[in-house]
Every structure is written in C-alpha cells, then in structure tokens.
C-alpha cells in the first residue's frame, strides 16, 4: 500500500510523496517497515527551500519539542491546568508554515500547534504564559485555554476549542480577501476527528463553489482522542473527500517535511493564483496521549504505541539532515541545549509573572463599552 495522491496538483509539483496509506489496523507494521525510507535524503530540494531553511526548520522543531515537554512537566507539577502536545506533528506543522507567507497570510490553528506557532514567530514565553494562565498572555489575556485567542504580531487565531468551527470561519476569512481582490491565502488546521463534523463539509463545499484561497490542512494522527480512524470514517483518507468538493486532495507523510512543504506549497500557489482551495492531509503520529488528562494505554493497542515510536519526526528529520550532511551530532546537541536554555528562561519568567487581577476581567466584551453589558447583571 502506498500513500495515494488522491488528486494530483496540476502545476509542476510532481514529486508528492507516495508513501504508505494508513489504516487503523495495518498502521503499526507499516510505519515500522517504512519509516526510514519515507524521508528522502538524496533528492534535490523543492523550489523555495534552501539547505539553511531545512536546518532552521529543524531548529524550530527542536524548540517546539523542548517547550512541549516542559509544558507537560508543568502540568505534572500542578502548575499548568491542561496541555495537548504537538509531539509527532512537528515536521508537518513547521513545513506547512514554511509554505505560507506569515506576513500576509491567515492562520486558523487548533490546540495542537506548538510547532506551527513557534515557526510563526510566537515565543516560548508567550505560550508558557498561556499554559500558566498568567498576566501578559498575549492571545486572550489568559481568558482562554492555552494557545487560544489571537496574536498581536501574526495573523494566527483560534477562537475556541470546539472542533471544526474554524473551517467555516477560515472560508469566511478567505471570502473577505477574495471580495476585496487581495491575494492573501488562508490556511486552516484541523485533525482527523474534525473531518467528521458537519461544519467541515459545509466549509469545503462553500470554498469549492467560490474557489476561495484556502488550504485545508488536516493533521491526521489516526485518533480523535481515543476513537481510531476506522470508527471515524469508512474510508482510508480524509483527502478522498476533496473530490466531492471539486478540488484537489492529497495525502502525504507528515514525517517528511519536504513532502509536506511541497504539497502545501502547491496548494498555496494554487490558492494565490485564484484557482481555489486544496486539501492537504498529512499522516502524523500523536506520540503522547490526547492531553495531559488522558491515558492512551486505555485504548491504543500496544503494538501501535510501540510502532509509532519509530516515527518520531525529530529523529527522522535529524537523520535526513545528517544524511544530507547538514547536521552533525554536536550541532544537534548544541541546538537541543540552546532550546532547553530558552525554555528554561521562559519558564522562569512565566512562573514569576503574576496572575491577572480583576481590573480587566470585564473589558473587551464589546467595542468602546467595556461594561455596557456587565459586569454583574445578576449580582446582588
């Protein structure tokens, strides 16, 4: 079995990875057999990517991993109420961002986007302030779950935890650009679980009808919390749905940053050229339980858990870089030490920050009228 290119992109991007198609049952064996070969280390780079880019993308992944691990630690220490994790998704996230133009494009993220967010230029401190619910948190003033809200420097946002709500919203964002003749592209991230929601269908349908500049980016880790793919959908890939919406859909190996970059870049180019939406599905691993509240040994088969460990994008990317002669062990170690240092510093700062007070609790409900509707209608 190989990753099927369900519909190939038209223009010049022929080398979309044909790796393994997953299905729930066959997954583990496949991933073990092919993880080594699925990352190409001997090919030319895709247009638009330099060797420096590869290294810097890896560096972002390293930082993301360090931050991610720290957040889970803070949760175990009782300091962070909850966390999801991007471990296993990092290569795909970083590559997707690389294919976009953060200065002008829109990013509708979901809760698992540590690596994408760092690639977009948010800082570990900003994220940690969110996890700890501290004053100065930039996305929601610590009103929301970590990584939710919007960002003052990049146009990335996630209004809620409610799965798939971001898809129609992204389509609306793209519609607004198209109406004004802008050439910005909107990328919307979602999981395999989100594919089952009605909103996903409605969003893709509308985007298809109006040929809107949207990239639907599905991080398929084969689980919606505990529900495996075969209980979520009767088909092997989310990308198989794209045909029903009249646009291309493709599935690539999310361990392979080059493949993800290429597929996303093709989708972005298509969108920017006014040719409409695309669906890019990346097969990734959820290396940790769903969130810090979860225990995936309750529902993941043992061989699945073992198998996924061979598909750690950090290891696989390091391997690829080393094969290409772009990384050696010493540099790798130095990067990891540097990441740890950055995360340590950010942790210290975040821990030292105060919790928000009550002053601003009621503001920004509406424009110009912070207390028009509150604060305490029913309070006696």
């Amino acid at each position: 079995m190989s990753f099927e290119v369900v519909l190939e992109f038209g223009a010049g991007h022929a080398r979309i990875a044909r790796s393994d198609t997953y299905n729930d049952r066959a997954m583990t064996a496949i991933s073990r057999n092919n993880s080594e070969t699925s990352i190409r280390s001997d090919d030319a780079l895709p247009t638009g990517l330099s060797t420096e880019d590869l290294v810097s993308m890896y560096k972002t992944m390293v930082l993301s991993r360090a931050l991610d691990e720290r957040v889970w630690l803070l949760n175990r220490q009782g300091k962070a109420a909850i966390a999801a994790s991007a471990q296993g998704h990092e290569a795909a996230q970083v590559a997707s961002v690389k294919a976009m133009d953060p200065g002008r494009d829109h990013f509708l993220i979901y809760y698992r986007q540590f690596a994408a967010m760092l690639a977009l230029g948010t800082t570990p401190l900003e994220q940690l302030l969110g996890f700890l619910g501290k004053q100065g948190e930039p996305m929601s003033s610590a009103r929301q779950f970590p990584l939710h809200g919007s960002h003052p420097r990049v146009d990335l946002f996630s209004f809620s935890n409610v799965v798939a709500t971001q898809l129609p919203q992204a389509v609306g964002v793209a519609l607004a650009d198209k109406m004004r003749g802008n050439d910005n592209v909107t990328i919307v991230y979602f999981g395999d679980g989100a594919a089952s929601q009605g909103d996903t269908h409605e969003a893709m349908n509308f985007a298809g009808i109006h040929r809107l500049p949207v990239v639907f980016f599905c991080e398929n880790n084969r689980y919606a919390i505990s529900v495996p793919l075969h209980k979520q959908m009767p088909v092997d890939n989310v990308s198989s749905r794209a045909a029903g919406y009249g646009f291309p859909g493709v599935t690539v190996d999310g361990m392979d940053m080059l493949a993800v970059y290429e597929a996303t870049k093709a989708a972005v180019d298509r969108a920017r050229a006014g040719d409409g939406p695309s669906l890019v599905e990346v097969m990734v691993e959820r290396l940790l339980p769903h969130t810090t509240d979860d225990d995936h040994t309750r529902y993941r088969p043992e061989d699945d858990i073992e198998g996924m460990k061979t598909r750690d994008p950090l290891q696989l990317t390091a391997h690829m870089l080393k094969d290409r002669g772009l990384l050696d062990d010493a540099t790798d170690e130095a990067m990891k030490a540097e990441a740890k240092k950055l995360v340590n510093e950010a942790t210290e700062q975040a821990e030292a920050a105060p919790f928000p007070g009550l002053e601003n609790m009621y503001d920004h409900l509406f424009a110009d009228a912070p207390n028009a509707d509150g604060p305490a209608g029913g309070r006696s």
Partner: protein
C-alpha cells in the same frame, strides 16, 4: 419621509448601508435573484452584483461561520437566516463562537456581523415556521439582540446593527413585515441599541412587550382606555439584550403594576427576565404581582387556524389580563 411597511424599511436600511460601505454584503439562502423569501433583498443582486449578494448553499452553520470569518477579516456581513426555525444548526457558530470572539481574544479580534432572523407566528406556519428564538441569544453575553416592531425602529436599529462592531442579532417579526406601516425618514439614521421606548403613555399599569405584541398591546390599551378608563403605559423593549431595565423600572415605579406580554412560551424567557428585574429592583414600588401573558407551554404553534389563534396572545386576551391586574 415615506410611509412604508416593515419589510420595506428593512430593505431600505440594507440598501443604504450597501451603498455607503463597500464592506457590507449579504449572504443567505435565496437572497439573490429570488430577493429573499420575504423580498428583503429584492433587486439587490442587480444593484450590487453577485459578489456582494451571495446565494449560499442550504447550510446555516456555514452561513453563520462564514459571516463570522468575513467579519473578523474586515467585512460587515449581513447574514439572513431564512426563518428563525432554521437557525438551530447555526447555534454553534453564533452562540458558541461569534459571541466570544472579542472577549476570548482579549480584544484582539472582533466580529462586526449582523444576523437577520425573521421569526414569530400567526402566519399559519405550524411548528417549523412560527418559532420565536430570542431566548438563547438574549441569554448570551457578547451578543446584542434587537427586535423592532415598527418600520421606523426596523430601519434605525438595523442600520445600528450593521454599523455595530460586534455581533447583533436582528429579530424581525414576520407578521409585522406587511402588516405594519409607518413613516420612515428617507436618509440613513440609527436608533440606539439598548434603549426601550414608551410607545404609549399611561399611569395605571405598565405593559412591557416587544415585536408584534407591541401593536396588540397598544390595541388592548386603547380598548381598556375606552371601555374601562384604565390608562396603560406600553413599553416596547426594542432591544432584548441588553434589556433596558431603566426605562422599564421608570415606568413601573410610576404605575405600580406590570404585565409582561410575549408571544414566545413563558418558561425561562425574556418575560421571566423582565419580571425578575422588576421584582428585584422595583419591589417596594409594586402594588401587585408582576404578571405575564405568554404563549402556552407547547411547541409554537399548531398549524390549524383554531389552535394557532388560541396560541397567540391577542388584543382581547391582553385586555383581559390588563383588567384583571388593574383590579387587584
């Protein structure tokens, strides 16, 4: 000044705002060549083009979600939900999402979107073309809700809604669309969101109401004035969130008695909130219990004409309730 119906006032408001602001656009089912099933956007697709008058697929959640996305990206969408009864699929994007965008981003993003919802009964609509849906919106922090009863208010409040920088739900009572006529200034104007209006003065008893019932209450007030010499003050809430407690309380403190009239079923409703406000804030001025006259506790409302009429509060029933309360 032109005399027009409510639906004409709605159309007028949208046309003026579309002309004024290129960011304003319409999306909804059948809003294009059909001009909307109530003709609210009649002629718009010709005047403004397909790009700004979007016939959507039949999918209310996406209508709301796409409007929201466009709004946070600088547009001012006006989404039309064809009938209130079909807004339920959009609840997640409206109540769940739109209401919390500004608060949930600490002011980073906001959503200047208007959602027009034709609602209400007395139109032989049966269980799925008669619904009142105000409750969930009026309960939700971060949404404003207006419910105009007259052409003047319909135009002024709709323009305010469109220009508002946050989500506004505009509830338009279907029965008023062609039934109610009134004078409307030709130019654009705004009526303030959040302000009730005394639609009839009187010192004996206050009736608080909104929507179609405003007209029935005024009729009832005239009847009891003539027949019983009871002078009723009719307060038209106009905005259902936030409720203008001040205007209500000013009136009730003066009259000492309050009747709340609403078409929607009573339990956990706008009428409950008005009663609660009065009994908390004007208790010492009250000369009698705060009474309510509402639709009965069955799904609104039967299709057959006999039971539909029985469901709706009518000027007669309102007059009776006024007399009873006045006599206490």
């Amino acid at each position: 000044m032109t005399t027009m119906t409510v639906i004409e006032a709605v159309r007028d408001a949208m046309r003026l705002e579309m002309q004024r602001d290129p960011g304003v656009f319409i999306l909804g089912e059948d809003v294009g060549n059909r001009g909307g099933v109530f003709l609210a956007t009649d002629g718009f697709i010709k005047e403004f083009g397909e790009a700004r008058v979007i016939d959507t697929p039949l999918a209310e959640s996406s209508i709301a979600g796409i409007a929201l996305g466009a709004a946070v990206n600088g547009m001012r969408p006006i989404a039309e939900i064809q009938f209130a009864d079909f807004v339920w699929p959009a609840m997640n994007q409206l109540v769940g999402e739109a209401s919390k965008v500004r608060y949930g981003t600490g002011g980073g993003k906001f959503a200047p979107m208007t959602v027009r919802i034709p609602y209400g009964g007395g139109v032989r609509g049966g269980l799925y073309h008669s619904q009142s849906v105000e409750v969930i919106f009026t309960h939700t922090p971060g949404i404003k809700v207006v419910a105009p009863a007259t052409p003047y208010d319909a135009k002024g409040l709709l323009i305010s809604a469109i220009r508002d920088d946050d989500p506004v739900v505009v509830l338009e009572h279907k029965r008023t669309y062609r039934l109610v006529r009134g004078d409307v200034p030709d130019d654009a104007y705004t009526e303030p969101i959040g302000k009730a209006e005394v639609k009839r003065r009187g010192d004996d008893l206050t009736v608080v109401t909104y929507g179609l019932m405003v007209h029935y209450c005024i009729q009832a007030a005239q009847a009891v004035s003539q027949q019983d010499e009871i002078e009723v003050e009719v307060v038209d809430l106009r905005t259902l969130r936030p409720i203008d407690g001040e205007t209500v309380l000013d009136s009730v403190r003066r009259t000492g008695k309050a009747l709340i009239v609403q078409e929607d079923t009573g339990a956990v409703s706008v009428s409950s909130e008005v009663a609660a406000i009065i009994s908390q804030e004007a208790f010492f001025d009250l000369d009698g219990p705060v009474m309510r006259l509402t639709g009965p506790e069955i799904p609104p409302m039967p299709f057959n004409p006999v039971q539909e009429a029985e469901f709706m509060p009518s000027p007669d029933k309102i007059a009776d309730a006024i007399r009873k309360l006045a006599a206490l």
